[in-house]
């Protein structure tokens, strides 16, 4: 059972455009949602995170929008750069069982 779903699986945008990556979840006890960025040959690295008490979190060109009622999040990357090309994982945490559940990722390609 996939508790955290990401779409699209792959996304290509032009340099300078806004990339939108989507994430949805099923478990209403999830309360912390980090996004991890992974480059080939490396481990994932935390990019930005949000808690369920907020509906928006911004960090430079990266913004998370969170809709608790619909159990959906999205990561917006504005002014996309070729260096943003990577796989992005949405994850969810619940305090009940201290673990992160990851989505299967979105592979983002930024075309110069």
């Amino acid at each position: 059972q996939q508790q955290v779903r990401q779409s699209p699986q792959s996304l290509t945008v032009w340099e300078g455009e806004t990339a939108i990556l989507n994430c949805s979840y099923e478990d209403s006890t999830f309360n912390y949602f980090p996004w991890y960025q992974q480059f080939p040959g490396e481990g994932p690295a935390l990019l930005i995170s949000i808690s369920s008490v907020s509906d928006k979190k911004e960090d430079g060109r990266f913004t998370i929008f969170f809709n608790k009622r619909e159990k959906k999040l999205s990561l917006h990357i504005t002014d996309s750069q070729p260096g943003d090309s990577a796989t992005y994982f949405c994850a969810a945490h619940t305090g009940g069982a201290d673990r992160l559940t990851f989505g299967k990722g979105t592979q983002l390609i930024i075309q110069p």
Binding site: Y36, G43, A45, L46, H93, D98, R99, F102, G103, K104
Partner: protein
């Protein structure tokens, strides 16, 4: 700070052989997590330790997988009688305060290939 160190980077084993993977967490971090990454399944939680004590091993395949943390500077994941379906990238992560509701610092992983 060298980050989380995983060795070896690549390991090739024959079917039925044993594989031991090593992880050195960031000094001073309280928790170590093990994940397995494949194209099909994505990132799967295996197990984790807090202050060297096993906390949750619910993601570990019970029969052939085991993990230990004999001291605060390293953890091992051992796979006995490896099978082709064990082929994956095994990732180790550590966190400062001992939970996964904070930044996890991942190593670069060990790519295990079982022939």
């Amino acid at each position: 700070n060298a980050g989380v160190i995983q060795t070896p980077r690549h390991k090739v084993t024959g079917k039925g052989q044993e594989a031991t993977l090593w992880c050195e967490p960031i000094s001073g971090h309280s928790a170590v997590f093990w994940y397995r990454q494949t194209i099909v399944q994505g990132l799967e939680f295996l197990t984790y330790f807090r202050n060297q004590a096993p906390i949750d091993d619910s993601g570990m395949p019970k029969e052939r997988f085991s993990a230990q943390m004999p001291n605060q500077s390293h953890s091992t994941l051992k796979i006995q009688s490896t099978q082709p379906q064990d082929s994956a990238v095994y990732l180790c992560a550590s966190s400062l305060l001992g939970t996964s509701a904070e930044t996890l610092y991942f190593g670069s992983g060990t790519r295990l290939t079982v022939l």
